[in-house]
Symmetry: C2
Subunit: 279 residues, 2 copies
């Protein structure tokens, strides 16, 4: 499952305060966007499910990518919040007890009951798009960029990403047991789940920050590698094989950053500095 | 549940061919938008679940509202398709067998299994937004209108509509049994489910067709009444009480149409001509 074990980054104080400030800003934005207000049957569980879900670094990457291309944090805040909502929704639905899911985690406590969690997580997908669409601002003339970000997120969550990864991940657990280790399966799941989410985050941040086509594509690929590294470490023990895979992905990731402002790159590249990833 | 019993409209040949042509155009558009293509694990069930779901008149209302304010059918086609996808997704999720849903319809056959139906219906929500966001066209300068329609649909499906109605509907079945008839409950469910969906459809059609603020609000309210009438007839037998309710709603609905082009009104008003609603 997505981000079962949260990645904790140990880094320099400057870098740490950069990422901490991003996380804090997203948290504040989301708390304002989802206050506990009427109808309580909607907003109470939505608030709960959003903040209880496992975290992902995709929203923070979205902000960092926006700032890397010279944009302002506010420009990517709604997209980052939408990504967090979508991820929380996907996590909630992954843990629902369905009749054909023998492997659903028994340890997950369903505070509001599966029926409400199913419906509210549906609403969280739409609510994420609502937050993003609302940032349309005639003064900024940003409507085309906002629509591009909506397409990126809808593809990553819908037809071309996370959903396919979730399905493939669930099939493995059911048919092959945990003993087998098919590298192709792992690659596919990491690429489609964490990979698609972070790839979309990088692209959205660059789009909303006003980046060029080239910058958008570089940060899209950077996000893909970041997500795949996290996906591998989320699912697989740290051994010779996984370090080799991760190091290859890290090289590819860093190559995408070489033409950006190197002072800013130092911070964003922390996401793939494997020695810093303490799971 | 939403549209358990489809509403069949009996009407004049001209009106009939108008609505038939709208339905056929939406069907064609959706078949092109969701071809059975790779990844098959995504598009095969998405195609199936979209076309097997109970129909709703909301997408057709969206097109009719667009044409009523002088817009072209194509301008509202993606929004109509998105509404159909969202409705199919909601229907799919309503019928999933969850551990705390003793009343789930046993007659629904889950062709692809509940796990896939859960994930794919999530993807259908995002895919609906993707279709709509993609209609952004610099030549038409329509990005702000498209974003407005995205906000309308996300609110109707998310924080302010269908989801709350689904929840309230499920609560009634569980706690009060079928014998009791609380009018307030019925009103609330019809308003939030069919009402919110049709209200959003009317508003979206008017927005995308270039309607004025006043036209948008009239068609939003018209849609609300259309949806509530359908909601009442979907859930309740035709007796003195329900006819009285429906007639009141019909009067309110027709009042919203009185300032539009009366030749066109004749057709769109068929949606509330109760004598024509043969369930």
């Amino acid at each position: 499952l997505l981000s079962r074990r949260p990645t904790v980054l140990a880094m320099s104080t400057t870098d740490q305060s950069y990422w901490s400030s991003i996380h804090a800003d997203i948290e504040t934005h989301l708390k304002q966007a989802i206050p506990i207000r009427p109808p309580l049957v909607v907003f109470e569980p939505m608030h709960h499910l959003t903040f209880i879900a496992p975290q992902t670094s995709a929203p923070a990457l979205c902000i960092a990518a926006c700032e890397l291309v010279g944009g302002h944090r506010d420009q990517a805040m709604a997209a980052a919040s939408a990504l967090r909502l979508m991820h929380a929704s996907a996590s909630t639905h992954e843990n629902l007890p369905l009749t054909d899911r023998p492997n659903t985690r028994q340890t997950v406590y369903h505070t509001f009951g599966p029926n409400i969690e199913l419906l509210i997580a549906d609403g969280m997908i739409s609510f994420g798009f609502e937050l993003l669409a609302q940032t349309n601002d005639p003064d900024q003339n940003n409507s085309v960029r906002v629509l591009q970000a909506i397409i990126e997120i809808s593809r990553a969550m819908g037809s071309q990403g996370v959903m396919e990864g979730q399905y493939n991940e669930s099939q493995y657990g059911e048919s092959d047991g945990e003993k087998l280790f098919p590298a192709a399966w792992l690659h596919n799941v990491c690429k489609k789940k964490e990979g698609a989410l972070h790839s979309c985050a990088g692209a959205c941040g660059a789009i909303l920050g006003g980046g060029s086509e080239e910058e958008i594509e570089k940060l899209r690929r950077y996000g893909l590698y970041v997500g795949m590294i996290q996906g591998i470490f989320n699912r697989f023990e740290r051994n010779e094989w996984s370090w080799k895979e991760v190091n290859e992905l890290r090289e590819l990731a860093l190559k995408e950053l070489k033409d950006f402002n190197q002072a800013k790159v130092k911070t964003i590249s922390r996401l793939v500095e494997t020695k810093l990833c303490n799971v």
